[in-house]
Amino acid sequence: MLTKGSGRGIMRALQQHLRNLPYMASYSTNEFRSGLKILLDGDPCAIIENEFVKPGKGQAFNRVKIRNLKTGRVVDKTFRSGESVEAADVHDTQLQFLYSDGEFWHFMDPETFSQCQADKNAVGDTAQWLKGEEQCQVTLWNDVPLIVVAPKFVELKITETDPGVRGDTAQGGVKPATLETGAVVKVPLFVEEDEVIKVDTRSGEYVSRARE
């Protein structure tokens, strides 16, 4: 029952309650910028584009293009301007790849030596470029790897490829080569087994022989 004066007690109780809640950051729509990380339906997302729309005498909206960082899917969302959205604790860091146990890929922070593991979803196609000790850009969500990006260039040894055709020099054809990590790339005909080559991980293309 509410009596005069009980309001203050309720406020005190409410303040006490709020102090005990875990700290949760949030962003108002007027802080929306591309690159901002927010939590949407429980998933971490990044804002790609934000547009403020408002009829002169009407409701204001933020029309936002958002990438779901777990699935990679891009969706359009509409928010009422002034609404608040929970912030996602997402940040990028450089971690060293240690090893894979088949189920998880293990990484280490080279400064603090603390380790964490990434699952198959986080590593995805990046796995095919990793043999160990690479510095990878890892996107962490609540300190768990969400996205692992391979270094732009990696140097890997060819474990299997057809013998080169003698006389055929730099010009022309390519052949498939299997690398020590299992990745298959197209290489020029003159490149041989056991050679180390440089690969661009963004395109998956052969760049050159690795310098000795």
Partner: protein
């Protein structure tokens, strides 16, 4: 304390390297020319230039417009005006005759490619004009302001209802929240989460579907809005579902909003009350309604039509620019 210092220093460095205006100097010259052309236009028509206060004791009650407050060191507050409308109507009621004003207006939180929280409004009132007469005058003024940019001058006129029927296939005067929500989804527009009001969806549909579908090479007038969106317009004498309100749009961008002005003090009082109740329900700041405006209406507002035109956007149009920052000396982020 020490830990904060580099951050503060980098903020200061960022500000110092960002002192330049957003608008090129020739755009500022175009702005000055436009202001001179506006004054010539009204001088030739015998419309009186007036000035009214930027800081007032009462505020706009519109739940979609948020006033910035000015705090007195003694603890009292006043409001930066969101448009000079109420004060200009008080002048009309006092017998001023036709008047215009070039004024700064302030709207909290409105920031984007087409919005700056501080902007320049040209507002004018014409006694004895109806909606059509004022729309013609707006078309004439805009055509004269953008004539050097080679834009098509011939304006087109459509009712709000007609455009909704064409683009979304629904009658805005008869549709429901669920019907319009479905049609928006089909058009690829996700309504915001939670419960939506019909006006909210109409606003979303207007900005995301109806305006982008309009011809982009001419000035377009949208008129006869649903009565729920009357703002300060009087209702249509022949159809109570409609308000005598118009907007002028170019390339999907709203340039002006005009009314056959509501003169009935009782109806104005009811709209204030509805607005204030809606503000309370939405948890928005309570504001003081303008009692002096109600007094002026009670004493008698001459039959008139009035319009507010966003001069910054007209300048964007005239100069072919996409962002309001490019026509302002110092936009919100630079001010």
């Amino acid at each position: 304390m020490l830990a904060n210092k580099p951050a503060q220093r980098s903020l200061a460095t960022g500000l110092r390297s960002n002192w330049r205006p957003g608008a090129a100097l020739d755009i500022l010259a175009a702005r000055a020319k436009m202001l001179a052309a506006v004054r010539d236009f009204f001088a030739a028509r015998g419309v009186l230039e007036v000035e009214t206060p930027l800081v007032s004791s009462a505020a706009a009650t519109d739940p979609n417009i948020e006033s910035l407050r000015v705090l007195d060191p003694a603890g009292a507050h006043r409001y930066l005006n969101t448009s000079p409308e109420f004060a200009m109507k008080r002048l009309l009621a006092a017998g001023s005759g036709d008047i215009y004003q070039v004024s700064r207006a302030f709207r909290a939180g409105e920031c984007g490619a087409l919005h700056n929280p501080e902007f320049t409004l040209l507002e004018w009132y014409r006694e004895g004009f109806d909606l059509q007469g004022l729309m013609w005058e707006v078309a004439e003024l805009i055509a004269s302001l953008v004539q050097d940019s080679g834009l098509v001058a011939e304006a087109a006129y459509h009712t709000y209802r007609e455009l909704f029927l064409e683009t979304l296939g629904c009658d805005p005067l008869a549709t429901s929240v669920s019907d319009l929500g479905e049609r928006l989804k089909k058009a690829g527009i996700a309504p915001p989460a939670g419960e939506c009001g019909l006006d909210e969806l109409l606003d979303l549909a207007l900005t995301t579907v109806v305006l982008p579908a309009l011809a982009s090479d001419r000035l377009i007038f949208i008129y006869d809005y649903p009565i729920s969106q009357a703002a300060l317009a009087r209702s249509h004498p022949g159809d109570a579902r409609i308000a005598r309100r118009f907007e002028a749009v170019y390339g999907g961008i709203e340039l002006a909003n005009g009314f056959e002005e509501l003169a009935d003090p009782d109806e104005q009082g009811r709209r204030f009350q509805n607005d204030l109740e809606l503000r309370a329900r939405r948890g928005l700041a309570a504001v003081e309604q303008d009692e002096r405006l109600l007094g002026a209406l009670a004493s008698g507002l001459p039959s008139c039509a009035g319009v507010a035109l966003g001069l910054d956007r007209v300048l964007m149009l005239a100069c072919g620019l996409q962002h309001i920052d490019e026509v302002l000396s110092f936009s919100w982020e630079r001010a």
